[in-house]
């Protein structure tokens, strides 16, 4: 691969191709039964790894979630559990 001078990236949004979820140790699992749709997990996620679906349910994008656990910590209804990643 030829690199641009000064590491300049000329294609906007190309960072999406760089999947950064690989170093996760714990994975957030959302229990939608307990979810009160407050949006705290979506707001506090330091990446943009939580999305709100059309049906009002929240989903984790595991391609980018690094398992920091902030969503689980912030959830007021304890609807998110951090589960150890095992192969």
């Amino acid at each position: 691969m030829k690199v641009n001078i000064a590491a300049c990236i000329t294609e906007p949004g190309s960072s999406e191709r760089n999947k950064t979820g690989g170093w996760r140790v714990f994975r957030p699992v959302i229990n939608n039964e307990r979810c009160i749709d407050c949006g705290s997990c979506w707001i506090f996620c330091p990446d943009a790894s939580i999305t709100r679906e059309e049906n009002g349910e929240y989903k984790v994008n595991l391609d980018f979630c690094k398992g920091c656990g902030i969503c689980a910590n912030e959830c007021p209804s304890e609807a998110i559990e951090m589960v150890l990643e095992e192969k």
Partner: protein, 390 residues
């Protein structure tokens, strides 16, 4: 029409900045650079120079603002000295790594402690590995001309590196000399409009200064090294074309009385003037001077060629690598001349503004003569050192 005037070195630099149509200036005042940025501020306030003048709270911010402005494709300028340059250290690497053609004048001044506002070259020598091109000038005229040349070199597509024009603080900045100020049209002819390959533009978003992980970091560094190699050729061309248009040229190195010289003094900056006076008074064609004007990239081949007839070299410089016992230029000369059989001596002189007199230069020549005649001499001497004060 070009016009001749007498002016301080600082004023000569400000005139060059105006002639180059610099668009953004971000600077913080520090002795002995202050007059440069004061004069430019006045030009901007008077409407003589249509530039954005950014007041900042430190040199770190000055260079950071220059980086941001340069990334938008503007022609930018700043100036500093000593502690100010040291405070910029971190950001100097970002400017060069991002390949931004910023031009900065450094009014060479000693570093603290002990606090000292006078001239030596330790400040810019300490930044030799920061990826900046470095030019050391001898006169106020050369300071003006080198700023114009600096933009031409920095902005060349084959180079795209920042340039530091180093001029001795007080010795040049505060000294009045006759200076020819070129005509604006001449400068326009010499210096094309700036067009960078990538600029910050909301219409065409780019990421600048992104992550370079271990897979590619080395390649970016190698690109900088290749750009430095190109800069040797580009700087030479820039100087030749400058001579065609303005009638003055300097070369990458200056050879003075070298034709038959077995003894050669080597130096950078304004000290060359004192050495030339000494050599002229001496009238000995066995002793010459080599002035290194371009220190980064180092013109190794040109230096080897210039010293091909030399037997003993004495490097007189205003810096010292504490713990290595000699100045950086001497170390580099030894490296460049490795295997040539030329004996390299060093003279540490003028630290913190100590006068370098004709007597000191004669001593340096005498020591080299003794070495030439096979006597054993001190490899390194500190000129005018007060032994009793140690």
């Amino acid at each position: 029409m070009p016009h001749k005037d007498v002016m301080h070195g600082s004023r000569a630099v400000a005139e060059a900045v105006k002639l180059c149509g610099v668009e953004v200036v971000a600077a913080y005042p520090i002795t002995p650079q202050t007059h440069i940025v004061e004069d430019i501020a006045e030009m901007v306030a008077n409407g003589e120079l249509k530039a954005e003048y950014i007041m900042v709270e430190s040199e770190h911010s000055a260079m950071s603002a220059c980086i941001g402005a340069s990334a938008t494709g503007a022609r930018v300028f700043t100036a500093t000295a000593s502690q100010g340059l040291a405070l910029m250290h971190e950001v100097l690497w970002i400017a060069s790594g991002m390949r931004l053609p910023i031009v900065m004048v450094n009014a060479n001044r000693a570093l603290s402690a002990p606090i000292n506002i006078w001239n030596d070259q330790s400040d810019s020598i300490a930044e030799r590995d920061s990826g900046w091109i470095q030019i050391y000038v001898e006169t106020n005229q050369e300071a003006l001309d080198s700023v114009i040349q600096a933009y031409r070199i920095a902005e060349d597509r084959e180079v795209l590196l920042p340039v530091m024009v180093c001029m001795d603080g007080f010795v040049l900045t505060h000294t009045v000399e006759p200076v020819e100020v070129p005509d604006e049209e001449q400068v326009k002819r010499y210096l094309p409009e700036l067009h960078l390959p990538h600029v910050l533009d909301p219409e065409q978003p780019v990421t600048m200064g992104s992550l370079g992980d271990p897979n590619y970091y080395m390649e970016f560094r190698k690109q900088q090294e290749l750009a430095m190699e190109n800069a040797l050729r580009v700087a030479m061309q820039a100087d030749e074309e400058f001579k065609e248009i303005f009638g003055r040229g300097y070369g990458l190195i200056e050879e003075y009385n070298l034709e038959n010289a077995e003894i050669v003094l080597v130096t950078m900056g304004s000290l060359a003037g004192t050495i030339k006076e000494t050599l002229d008074a001496l009238g000995d064609d066995g002793v010459g001077l080599l002035r290194i004007r371009l220190f980064r990239p180092f013109p190794k081949e040109a230096v080897r060629r210039a010293l091909s007839r030399a037997k003993v070299v004495n490097v007189i410089e205003k810096d010292v690598s504490i713990g290595f016992g000699e100045g950086a230029l001497m170390t580099e000369l030894k490296s460049v001349l490795y295997g040539s059989g030329i004996k390299v001596l060093g003279t540490v002189a003028g630290l913190g503004g100590r006068d370098i007199t004709i007597a000191h230069i004669r001593e340096a020549i005498e020591r080299a003569k003794r070495a030439l005649h096979g006597e054993s001499v001190e490899e390194i001497a500190w000129a005018g050192l007060k032994e009793e004060a140690l």
